[in-house]
Symmetry: C2
Subunit: 464 residues, 2 copies
């Protein structure tokens, strides 16, 4: 079992727009400083995600709940948004068979379907609720703060239906994943005898995939949660911070940072060549964007790279033209999978051997084709002076996915130190929230209402 | 029925990083020049997509095929990648009920499921093929050139299975959507009595959603293709190019171009507040990235904005922190839906009225919440000096979707003229293709093989 990073094509001696050898050599010192910030944050208890792999009590909350729930539910529905949804979605896509929710009960070996309501679009929510057998459904309400507007709105709609259909049994179809002490969900759970599972206070939403936010639904659908945590734990141990080139999170963060700040590569693409990993890229976009996209008060300036999700080979026919020939402002990080599931590959048959556009394909496998396209794209980008690196996973399984999550989470904290921002907050979303409260008439949003009502009313510009 | 653009928040007098009033006033001339390029391209027959709304013969190819296929198929599977997949996926998500493929035959009113295989991942393809009832399945093989490696590989795998299970009846489970004259698919169709539907020679892949690439699958699943084309036709007539501020495609393209070239806003986000429109954003990313991300030979430089797909309200909890506080290098274009389907909205019940984090939500609808969040986010971005605009659709239906596609396609050709690049080619993907052919041993890739084999072998850099 292994995860390795090939960053040959990130280096200036290989790729014209890459990181210069002397800058890389000199980066050891900046890395030491970043690691010191990391250690300070850890010591002050801010990096709760590091402790998750060894928090057996927390893990047991999820596995116990899942064991008790066995056989009771055909559908598990997560109500959550942002970090409460992206982790579970990534886990589902990576570790369950494709189109899990379309499979019959036998193929799901009795395990429930898994739905994630990550928005408040009435069409999606109404459609799902109208079709669920509520008596066989479990709703996981996930909100660290316990007050997220979208999730609370979903909960109210669901709760009302449960009350009407199931009466007093409604609480047995709910579980709240929330802060151990604080917040509205915690209060409601206490008053209403609703089971709860904890999100540790020291783990923020976008770092929460290995808390019950991801682990509880994973356990409910039979994913090997112990392997997820073991992979993450192994990665946490590997990222010692001792030597930059031995620390995979350090290598990832430092290369992105140098490529950005020294070479203008401020768009940073994550491009797995694996359908199973496509939603890991969306998960990473939140992690990287919300952690690093910050106003840096000291210099009164906005900083942070723009992460972009892509999928190979699909995006070779969409975004790669821009990556190859557009402005030299991007890095591309591929994720490649070394071994396909035993028997999971598909051989391309020898057919139409006389047609030159098809004949050369026969005898190769689809997995080979995918791998060859990844190498071809990496090579072509390098030839054109576009820095890129590849994270190699032995296979897509719980262990490797846990390791990948932990790698990118630690890298995010390193990058926060390099960019000199706090990677753990998100002050920029507060104003939009307040303006929403103001329009909805939330009682404690008086100040926001005044601000909203006093916004200038410029001459409108319409094209009708 | 209407589509209007509110670009108030793109202007410098409203938003500090917006387009200055004098620059906007002076843009009329640049727009005239861009329109002249557009007219030249149209006159020389390059803009085939403009003629699609009135090409009744072409439309009839799809509707006739769909009528003949009625009742014969439970599953329609598109084999295609890039432009051959993104259009159909956007149509499916927008115009079919959510989770269409999970619905029973009765809810689908006898219409088939619709699958799109947009990659060559063996796990996805094997999984689907193992579960399909081939006797009730239709495979649409879509490739303009008729030789796309990924699509040909899929076709070979499918064809082999069809031959083995259905023997001589295999061709009746295939239809090729390809160039009217040229390419390998055309040759195979002629020799093998396989039905075909045309992609007009003058319409490139990413402009092909309103050719049979999108229209044939749409017709097969009961989408109102006439309304799609009517909406597109109405938009084509509206984009007269006479006055910039009256031409919605001109307004969109010129504002993005000015925001980029004068104000450094080179990341351009499309953010619908509607689950139904989420895949329109992915479709737009290809259109904008592949059309404008180019090497401009005259100045030997790479140009083109980076399009980013987002979804409201979901991405308020992911990317919006970066949009609000990160570098001032982005524009955000929202898509808002004015009217929800009759009966399609969901009222949030009055429950937990005593809890301040929930009580204010009761009585509002989920649709209201979504709309309010869109306005709040637009307002908050404006306050922080982040230019944004909103495309308002009366509703999500075939007519409005057709209009939206046409708006963005025309805007792309305008933007090509403004950026001084050819928006209709994609030379940058050729090298990666050649390197793929080289490794697979395609006979006519000798030169690529030499180039691939002669790539320098730098000192590898691994973090293991």
């Amino acid at each position: 079992m292994a995860l390795r990073i090939d960053y040959t094509n990130m280096m200036g001696e290989v790729v014209s727009g890459g990181v210069a050898a002397d800058a890389w050599a000199a980066a050891e010192r900046a890395f030491r400083d970043a690691r010191a910030v990391f250690e300070r944050r850890r010591a002050s208890g801010e990096l709760g995600f590091l402790a998750l792999p060894t928090d057996e009590q927390l893990h047991e909350q999820s596995t116990t709940f899942a064991r008790d729930a066995e056989g009771r539910f055909d559908d598990v529905v997560i109500l959550g948004i942002g970090g409460s949804a992206l982790g579970p979605i990534a886990l589902r896509t990576a570790l369950l068979p494709p189109s899990w929710n379309m499979l019959g009960m036998d193929e799901r070996v009795g395990l429930p379907r898994l739905h994630v309501l990550d928005n408040v679009d009435p069409r999606t929510i109404g459609h799902l609720l109208d079709r669920l057998e509520l008596r066989r459904a479990l709703f996981i309400v996930t909100s660290k703060s316990g007050g997220t507007a979208e999730t609370m709105a979903q909960y109210l709609v669901v709760r009302d239906r449960l009350n009407r259909v199931l009466g007093d049994a409604a609480p047995r179809h709910l579980v709240f994943v929330t802060d151990p002490q604080k917040g509205a969900l915690r209060t409601i759970a206490r008053a209403g005898a609703i089971p709860t599972v904890d999100i540790p206070a020291a783990v923020g939403g976008r770092f929460s995939v290995l808390t019950p936010v991801g682990i509880l639904p994973a356990a409910l659908v039979g994913i090997d949660t112990a392997a997820l945590l073991a992979g993450a734990g192994e990665m946490a141990r590997r990222c010692t911070g001792e030597r930059l080139s031995d620390d995979p999170a350090g290598v990832f963060a430092m290369l992105q940072y140098l490529a950005h700040t020294r070479h203008g590569r401020h768009v940073q693409v994550l491009m797995p060549y694996s359908d199973a990993l496509r939603d890991v890229a969306a998960w990473f976009v939140q992690l990287w964007a919300e952690s690093l996209g910050k106003h840096r008060t000291a210099k009164d300036e906005g900083v942070g790279p723009t992460p972009v999700a892509a999928l190979g080979a699909t995006d070779q026919h969409s975004q790669v033209q821009l990556f190859m020939e557009g402005p030299p402002d991007k890095t591309v990080t591929f994720i490649a999978v070394n071994e396909r599931d035993a028997g999971g590959d598909v051989t391309i048959p020898h057919l139409h051997g006389d047609v030159k556009e098809l004949g050369y394909l026969g005898g190769h496998s689809l997995g080979d084709l995918l791998d060859i396209e990844q190498r071809a794209t990496a090579g072509a980008l390098a030839v054109r002076g576009r820095p890129n690196m590849t994270i190699h996973l032995d296979r897509v399984d719980a262990w490797h996915l846990g390791a990948l999550f932990m790698l990118l989470e630690i890298a995010t904290v390193y990058a926060g130190a390099l960019y000199d921002v706090n990677p753990l907050d998100q002050p920029g979303v507060e104003l939009g929230k307040q303006f929403t409260y103001a329009q909805l008439g939330r009682a404690d949003a008086e100040q926001a209402r005044q601000e909203w009502n006093m916004l200038p009313e410029p001459e409108p510009r319409f094209c009708v």
